[in-house]
Symmetry: C3
Subunit: 352 residues, 3 copies
């Protein structure tokens, strides 16, 4: 059953079928990938971020994946691509260490009645799968996962260790969830009656499309009435919180530590940088970019790049001065107003 893992490829093997131009020696043997500033002989590297351009001239790599413009300055074999990072992702795939996974249900896993698990699927040790669950072909469920009653997991989806999928959740194909993800916990809904909070039943579910990635310890709540919906190709980083009833459009990407409050609708092809917080009950249209640490308090109706707050790390001393000035703004405005009236009297006095 063992397959020897291949560790060497020629450049021509690596670029076979890719939309790239190879400038240099196609028989050059590659044994791995490295970052450009620390690349080793026999390794391939890539250049996409301007911050690292300075390392090109002195790179020890055997080959560099880069744009046509950068290729002019490349001292070694060049793999020229209109999208070097994408090309890198394709070439790096040759050097992954696949983890051995055996099909079948681990003897320590607990499987509820009336569940249908495809024989090609792998259910890890100490998993607890509920009743009436459907698990598709080639699904891999890591150790210690819990899948609730009536949930469905599409083919080739991979849950790492200790993912929780609550009951009646629908997950698409080729989805990846890192460890500690929680899908379908009750949304945060409470009605206040005479000072006491009463739980509002959370009757919706979560629908996750195909090719979605979800990072470690990220949480997605089930809907209150409607479902929470994560469309195809969405990518969520670690420690992201998605509130109940939220809809996230296809191919939108949300970076770590971001929270999206309930009932908000985010469009397709958006990028939301890290540590942002998105208000509830708003709509963000397609093709919006939100820079890091932005609070989005209202709907965004036009594509574009958006930000909020005051950004710029400074010394605490400078910061204190800035803060003081900010809180003296009203005073400043009054002084300007006074200046304006005084000056007006003065000029009018002169004119008279």
């Amino acid at each position: 059953m063992k397959t020897a893992i291949r560790t060497q490829y020629t450049l021509s093997e690596l670029v076979h079928g890719l939309e790239v131009t190879l400038k240099g020696d196609p028989t050059c043997v590659i044994e791995g990938v490295s970052p450009i500033q620390q690349a080793q002989p026999g390794h391939v590297t890539f250049l996409t971020n301007r911050l690292y351009s300075k390392h090109l001239a002195s790179t020890q790599a055997a080959a560099v994946i880069l744009s046509a413009a950068d290729a002019e300055h490349c001292p070694v074999n060049a793999i020229i691509s209109s999208n070097p990072y994408y090309t890198y992702s394709q070439i790096a795939a040759f050097f992954t260490h696949p983890t051995a996974v055996e099909a079948g249900v681990h003897p320590s896993a607990i499987i509820g009645n009336d569940s249908a698990i495809d024989p090609s699927a792998s259910i890890g040790a100490h998993c607890v799968i509920g009743r009436h669950v459907k698990i598709g072909a080639n699904v891999v469920i890591g150790p210690g996962c819990v899948v609730g009653d009536f949930s469905e997991i599409g083919e080739a989806t991979q849950l790492d260790a200790k993912v929780t999928v609550y009951h009646r959740i629908k997950i698409g194909k080729r989805v990846r969830m890192a460890s500690g993800v929680v899908i379908g916990g009750d949304g945060f809904g409470f009605a206040n009656q005479k000072g006491v909070w009463h739980k509002v039943p959370q009757l919706g579910s979560v629908e996750i499309g195909d090719d979605v990635d979800i990072g470690a310890n990220t949480t997605i709540d089930r809907g209150a009435i409607e479902n929470t919906v994560i469309e195809n190709g969405v990518k969520l980083d670690n420690l992201v919180q998605i509130g109940h009833n939220v809809k996230i459009g296809a191919n939108t990407l949300i970076c770590g530590c971001t929270g999206v409050a309930g009932s908000t609708v985010i469009g397709k092809n958006c990028i939301i940088a890290g540590a942002s917080n998105i208000n509830g009950h708003i709509t963000i249209t397609d093709n919006v970019i939100i820079t890091g640490n932005t609070g989005v308090e209202k709907s965004i109706t036009e594509p574009g790049i958006y930000s909020s707050g005051v950004v710029g790390v400074v010394t605490n001393q400078e910061f204190r001065k800035n803060n003081a000035r900010f809180y003296r703004l009203e005073n400043l405005m009054h002084r300007v107003k006074t200046l304006e009236s005084t000056l007006k009297m003065l000029t009018e006095g002169k004119a008279s």
Copy 2:
């Protein structure tokens, strides 16, 4: 053992015993709940948020729960309530799908010596319960939970899958914890001696009152000397962090992605909106509302609504201009000061 789940109720059944006025047909049959803008025939919906008022006239719902004022414009059966959201929570409870739970300890669960588990409690698969643990009547502990030595869990409390309760923790009655919650990890206390951080023993515990709700992957640290205390009726959303020694007063509600640093005391009946961060060693009095994304750096001694920072998402271009202006404030102040002295000289010159 099976109970057929009832799926239809007349309006009069649904409002029986509630403090509401039914305007319309009490025999109307209801099969579910929907949001107002997508309500289906045979469903009941509710109107509480001004943002959704425009959907009232055209709703397809069989009945709407709303205020007396809104009821005048209701085209269908009206369930008139002074607190429509609370009434909705009561009616929606008819349409929950209860998950089947069997009393008793799952054979795969590991139970330590000298623990007392009420026979009506349910301990899920692969749970690990320590020694000297007390688990009350009708407690439901989901699969994969861990409860440490000497901890106590009050009656009718429900832990979803993979909750961790450390040792010597006391949890009240009717508490609900979503998957991934961690109660009682060591507080973040280190003493720096000659550049090296030494762990400060965390000798306190966590006390959680009755009717507390805790969202997915939220963490509450045990106290350093005193206990961390979460009073009755507190509601915590997902990914909230509560530091050691914190006290949270009864019926306070904290939304997702908020952190409360150590030794801070928060009063009763507060609402802290999402992504806020509360400094350590401060006190927030009762009945305080903190708007979203607020940094609370100092104590708040009067009830009211509080905020911080600069809020308002704008285009990145506008944001860059704002940022630049902010950092030119000192320059602006100097210019105003110069204007003031020049004008003073000028007017005094004139006067003389």
Copy 3:
């Protein structure tokens, strides 16, 4: 096998070998530790935070750990230290309740082939340990942990319940990880090709040094090409996110709810307060302090204290005025400019 837990010590026993001066009765019997404002007779307390000085005069404690300056006002036994908090951490260690841990592998744990587990290590119930794993002497792995293939855990390291360590991760000695920690999930790397995000293989690992502490539900991603590196003595609080390729220097401390984006390098002996967010691809030098809730968008090259944004919680009414003023800054600048030119004309007119 049982050891009676000792609960009483004389002051002279407690300070034996410590660099302190005891002023008072060395035979005084101590039974526990308390906070200064609530200290009980027979307890020792400490004074390090100015906020609590007012409680010294009336403390009921049997002894107080404090500085020489404060000792002058101490009404009870004084343990005088140049670093009272560190001294407290040493004395408090006498009063910890050690949790009983048995060496060996729990029968319910699943251990992969070719793994080497030291006989003195303890592997808890329902753990899943992969193949080719090395676990050192006196390691304690709590219930429900998962350790992936080829990972190594150094001696005396302690994983609390339900920690996930992915494959090929290297963890040092005396490391502590709280429940729910996830080490080595894939970094957040996707290449966009024609609107679709393609996963970039994450080929690096995570290296964690000795004496590192990691709080509950914190996540550390594996590197994309290089490893993510956490050096010796680093302390991370709960719900912290460390992106791929990040390096954190020795003895740096990061408080809760902070995110560090990918490929950033943080120096040694830094303190990053809670809810901060650190941009990717930047460098923060040694001995930097970042105050709470700071966004660090660019590299910091000089030691010092840094902050960002506008801080200061105010009433929502005041906040709205501030916000409005901020967005009128451009208008204010124009008005000042107009004043300047008018005044210039006026004074030049006068001069002529």
